[in-house]
């Protein structure tokens, strides 16, 4: 390859990566537009420190469900049971905690364990008995809700004790919050620097340092601004930290492990994946176990936030989680999806709820607007895809 053609190649590469970035930035732009719109309509109140703090706390449960749902949908399945499962695990946690006086740490573990176990149950039907996930989890949705009503004898279980409530109602002290943020930023720069060095060592192409570090700088700046805004209220909410941690873990799984790669391959082309030596059944099962465990965590946080377990807790959350994934660019056909996108999708959904209630618009409008946004988001995705596929 001579010098000139490799330059041309490089140029094309950058044009391409720019185009892909534009696609992923549309989501962020949409989010900013929604933020600005509501800020104007609420006279700035929407972007106040207090409300931002509320927003991030409100989005927790849907975000956690959406993280797991991204994997499920990428593997070309669906999970309709997560709302019921979060309700059930949250209910079990509350029953053990309130009726039997188990301590908080233990009931959290039990909730996650029960979630994982019921995920295993559903995953087994899907992976090893080839029953479509839609049916298995539709069944699961009814079964789990039924168990919850049975176990709780139809009662609301309350009140929780202080340290259970704290899970979703506490804030990191300012100093600790800033320390975490600074540590995170330093790590980001360190990993980027290390990766660049590795690539140089291996003789691979390295993009310009201004581009790489500049991007990081913009990210860091926005992290700091958000932290500052939150600190003006009570500090970083603990649930937000939980979401970020879980998102980090699952992004890591999706990009750095063979399991993560496998579920993208399975969703993209199951037959090709199988012939490439990927264990379809075991990986599918694992996806559902992880989804169940996440539903367990979501259930605990939900119970903690409501300060009670009710028989209808988590009702319809599966649809919000699926909508968040789809708005975030996850393809229902499988093989394509991003956890960051799903979380932004969740934030968009919650912002609409939150903004509209601040404007005192009646709740029925929220359903209508969210429904329309879901349809339009998918349409934008399809329309932009068609355009690129013609080229």
């Amino acid at each position: 390859m001579n010098g000139k053609s490799s330059d041309e190649l490089e140029e094309k590469r950058q044009v391409l990566s720019f185009r892909m970035n534009v696609q992923s930035y549309t989501l962020i732009i949409a989010l900013i537009l929604i933020g600005v719109l509501f800020a104007i309509l609420t006279g700035g109140e929407f972007l106040s420190s207090r409300n931002l703090s509320n927003l991030f706390t409100q989005m927790t449960v849907i975000s956690i469900l959406a993280i797991g749902m991204t994997f499920v949908i990428v593997a070309a399945h669906i999970d309709l049971s997560v709302g019921s499962l979060a309700g059930l695990t949250g209910g079990i946690a509350a029953i053990l905690h309130v009726w039997f006086d188990w301590n908080t740490g233990l009931v959290v573990l039990v909730a996650i364990g029960v979630g994982a176990l019921l995920g295993l149950f559903q995953g087994w039907w899907v992976a090893y008995r080839a029953v479509p996930a839609f049916i298995v989890t539709l069944g699961g949705m009814l079964i789990f809700r039924g168990i919850l009503i049975g176990l709780s004898k139809g009662q609301t279980i309350a009140p929780l004790d202080k340290n259970f409530k704290m899970i979703s109602n506490s804030y990191l002290p300012y100093s600790l919050g800033y320390a975490l943020v600074i540590m995170g930023i330093v790590l980001l720069f360190f990993f980027t620097w290390r990766n660049r060095n590795k690539r140089l060592e291996m003789g691979l192409h390295v993009s310009s340092p201004i581009l790489d570090y500049g991007k990081l700088f913009v990210y860091s700046l926005s992290i700091v601004v958000i932290t500052y805004m939150l600190s003006r209220y009570h500090g970083l909410p603990l649930p937000l930290i939980i979401v970020i941690t879980l998102a980090g873990i699952f992004i890591f799984i999706s990009s750095k492990t063979a399991f993560g790669r496998s579920i993208y391959a399975i969703g993209g082309n199951k037959e090709a994946a199988a012939l490439s030596g990927i264990n379809i059944k075991r990986n599918t099962l694992t996806v559902f176990v992880l989804m169940g465990a996440l539903a367990g965590i979501a259930g605990v946080i939900l119970t903690s936030r409501l300060n009670a377990a009710t028989t209808s807790a988590g009702d319809m959350y599966e649809l919000d989680a699926i909508a968040a994934c789809v708005i975030g660019g996850t393809s229902l056909a499988g093989g394509r999806g991003y956890i960051v996108g799903s979380i932004i999708g969740a934030l968009i959904m919650v912002s609409i709820d939150n903004g509209m209630s601040m404007m005192n618009i009646q709740t029925f409008w929220q359903y209508i607007v969210k429904g329309m946004i879901l349809i339009i988001a998918v349409w934008i995705d399809i329309a932009s895809k068609n355009k690129t596929s013609v080229a």
Binding site: R13, L16, M202, S255, R261, N269, L275, S276, G277, A391
Partner: protein
Amino acid sequence: MGVSSDYALQMLNITKEFPGVKALDGVSFSVKKGEIHALCGENGAGKSTLMKVLSGVYPYGSYTGKIIVNGAEVQFNNIKESQEARVALIYQELALIPEMSVAENIFLSSDLMRSMFINRNQLLAEAQNWLDQIGLDIDPQIKLGELTVGKQQLIEIIKALTKNAEILILDEPTSALTESDAEVLFEILEKLRSEGVTCIYISHKLDEVLHIADTVTVLRDGQTISTDPIEELSEEKIVAKMVGRELTEFYPYENRDLGEDILNVKNYTFNHYVTQEELVSNISFSLKKGEILGFSGLMGAGRTELFISLFGGYPGKKMGEIILNGKIVDIKNSRDAIKQGLAYVSEDRKRYGLVLDMNIIKNTTLASLDKVKSQRLLDSNLELKRSEELAKKVNLRAHSLEALVNQLSGGNQQKVVLSKWLLTNPKVLILDEPTRGIDVGAKFEIYKLIIELAKQGVGIILISSELPEILGISDRVIVMSNGRVTGELSRADATQEEIMKLATMRSEIL
């Protein structure tokens, strides 16, 4: 080139640009009334784009130039308008509904199916009428899905004819057909020609082009290279025009020293896991290190089934022994097969070979994720490095390795599949129709690669329906028919006639 009524179609100075690419650059293409006009060119030469311009898939205004049908200029905004002007494009991928009857499919978009109440008897009678006219012995009541792909293709053509198509465009019509179905297609095309239907025939198979076409136009890099009557052409001349150079040595075969046996299969039999029908029975063969062993036979002879089964791709009971490198191995699934050093390049790369929505790098490493890890985690830098090495080895042409494989041409996609399997470091490489649907230049590169791998000691199984290919690069040829081995020929003894004789042998005789 003036406007003349001798022509059924004239496309003058057509230019079509996509962002960054000029797909067609001033192409002119004229087809006389009632002829079969072949359109040849490598993948990416612009054949399909030209036909999409003609049929209105790319609407008027998205290209420049003039289209004249039967002496009048036309400006199609969509496929419907081109159909109304009696231009019918028959796609490579069929646009039929398997669950509906043959008759319903034929009249799918006609008024017969659109009226409020469908008159079944009339529908069947009309369909029967058309089938008789064409000379096809098919019951119009049966479900379309029960027909072979070849017969389905013929139904698609009938469907076009019911709309009074005067210009038929066939895009790679025989790529999925058995030889007997292809013969039927040719007979029908000849019959249509005698009735004055004009036909544009796009194909990679030059023997077919020479057999059926009256005139050949060659495109290369979005430009018209030549239009000649068939009498003045030969396969070599067409290839030379397509690639822009003479291919003196099309099959780069060289004599090699072969090593000891690497794979022995003894009395291998297996049944379909649902129907229990015997798919292959009592197969025995051996393969040496560095040997290229051709597997020939008609479609449905059981070659693909045999090797997918050996590769662990089918569930169900298997009998017989597989000896790899002197050891009996038990292959339960593809994971086991890959571990034992087998690799299988499928005949259907889009279905079994690639994850189309993934980029080249991820497709390349898919079957060997363990090889691109550092500290038990996937290392994207290592993945990129391995993919770059392989892309160079197979001469992959892509603007970026981060491009999705569905953006690549057929030849380059096949090179990605090859890269994937080469990364597993196979001892035995099974190639199932490795050059199907890819252009001449890429074919030659793949042959060179196969020979190169054989020289390095990889045992190669080459399944191919193209006899020249089998004869061109195999050291030895095994012929199958009806799920059995009907003969084995050395390179010196193998001829097209000999192979066809063995391939058509009926199992009763055995």
